[in-house]
């Protein structure tokens, strides 16, 4: 991992809603191929920050580049090079699995041949060959999450943003989901993930902890545990987030 390979570079990024500062001058970098954990209590501003990086929300001040494109001026270019999986399941429930894949990959400008080989690979890796023609609303939650991840990375983006991807998913499926994340990361994709499960934070190369719109801690899980002299990320989180004022 070279220092110069910054995929995400954030400087003083701020988002205000009226008098409320949801994200307050955050600054950090994410390296290529890294799994970057973005932790924080409810209402700390994680989703808002992520939405700014994805070009869904306009920053109030500060700047950031994602995949070398400026999020303020080149929003649409950023979108071409990222994948995003929202907190809310957001594939079309009324479309079949193959129809969802076709729709999103066409939007990313993939040709029919590319779509075919990408979706064959996807079905195989997810073991979904028998479900191509199933309506997405009829899939179990775990499958839906895996499919949403696969669709958000179908165009092989440089960065994928995952907003609480494993919310409401059982431990076994969670484990499998993280295997997908590792695989993507091994293939060189940068993964930017928010989560409330602190065991998942241990899987990340580095984590940041947001408290009341600011980043209060940022390092590898190992370094953070050493710094606070505790055994688990859970304890790290408790110590860092204990002064949080905001509540959901």
């Amino acid at each position: 991992m070279k220092k110069c390979d910054k995929v995400i570079s954030v400087k003083d990024l701020t988002k205000k809603f009226g008098n409320f500062t949801a994200v307050d001058h955050i600054t950090f970098d994410v390296q290529k191929g890294e799994i970057f954990g973005f932790l924080g209590a409810n209402g700390a501003g994680k989703t808002t920050a992520m939405k700014m990086l994805c070009g869904l929300s306009r920053p109030s001040s500060g700047s950031a580049t994602v995949a070398n494109y400026d999020i303020s001026t080149q929003g649409e270019e950023v979108k071409r090079h990222i994948g995003y999986m929202s907190q809310k399941f957001s594939l079309y429930e009324g479309l079949r699995v193959d129809e969802n894949i076709k729709l999103f990959s066409t939007i990313y400008g993939m040709t029919d041949d590319m779509i075919k080989s990408a979706s064959d690979r996807l079905y195989k890796s997810l073991n979904m060959e028998g479900m191509k023609k199933t309506l997405v609303k009829d899939l179990p939650v775990g499958w839906k999450q895996k499919l949403a991840f696969a669709v958000s990375t179908i165009h092989n983006p440089e960065v994928v943003f995952l907003d609480e991807p494993t919310g409401g998913v059982d431990p076994v499926t969670r484990r499998k989901f993280w295997e997908l994340i590792y695989k993507a990361s091994e293939e060189g994709m940068t993964v930017f993930v928010t989560t409330h499960y602190l065991d998942e934070a241990e899987y990340c190369n580095r984590v940041s902890i947001m408290v009341d719109g600011k980043i209060s801690a940022l390092d590898s899980p190992k370094a953070l545990k050493e710094k606070f002299n505790v055994a688990t990320m859970d304890e790290v989180f408790r110590i860092v987030a204990k002064d949080a004022i905001r509540e959901d």
Binding site: K51, L56, R58, G75, E76, Y84, S90, K102, T106, I107
Partner: protein
Amino acid sequence: MKIRILKALLCKEIALMRRNPIIPKMIVAMPLMVMLVLPLVANLDVRNVGVTIVDNDRSQLSRRIIYDIQMATSLTVTKVCDTHNEAMLTVENGKADVILTIPPDYSKLLLSGGSKVDIEANGVNATKGMLGANYVAQSVAGTLKQWREEMGVDLTPETEKVSVLNKYNPTLNFRNYMIPALMVVLLIIICGFVPTLNLVNEKETGTIEAMNVTPVSRFIFVLSKLIPFWVVGLFVITVGMLIGRLVYGLTPHGNILAIYCATILFSLVMSGLGVAIANNSSTMLQSIFVMFAFIMVFQLMSGLFTPIRSMPEWAQCVTYAIPPRYYIEIMRSIYLKGTPVSELWQPYTILFIFAVSFSIIAAMTYKKQS
């Protein structure tokens, strides 16, 4: 490339619409219901006017007047009374709309010098009162004319005899006026509401976010929301025309292609408006409420039910800004008069301008970034 993306988005819209448990049924059932039932019900023709007669004359002539009223198509004799008070009672309890008072010795006075009958109408329902009184007056005049001819005195000079010929709707059937209007109502409702609810639904379920995070151009995305309603609009109009023909025997006198062309433009106007409203609403409730406000004005101020020329002047000016006004004008002209398109270039042009600008507004108000 862009065409491919548009095609993929259209496939998505069509698949979702087709699989929706309610929308396709509504698109079929609503035109059927409206076209089969409403032309029979929504009728401004005044029929069954109840007439109470105070007959103070009790002559052969007065009995003839009563008989002729009884025979007239739109009039019914509710009661023949002796006193005016008694007659008023029938109006007050809603049984009669018009009172005809025949004065004592009417037939004698009429021959010697002249006398007048008295017609009073209940004005609570202004149209019914006015027309009812008119019908009674006509009926009485008819009886008198005949009676005079029989008696050998024709007092009406030849020049005053008028013969009326109603063009384009020869039987003055209100239904013929309403059928094109009802199709417009259907289009306003279906092509206005469905795209609005469709887009707000994407906001509520969160799928819009998945779209906004892709590089899809907002013009293409909005187009994919508008185009399906050309098809829906054409379908609705086709159903309307078929029922108009099969059930009511009303066939368009003009070019059907011209009707379809205007329909595409108008469905674009309505769905563009719908998308623009959806862009500015975050919940279905909000969007429905706003859409209703527009639909109210569109229906009542566009000349659908009440002629624009009888509106106050300021309101007539406002109607120029109401797109359905032009569509209705085109529909009625082609349907009832068979007007050629060349004479309707003005409403077509204006409708076209509205269609383009509403589509642009729909695309401009669609924000991929908040």
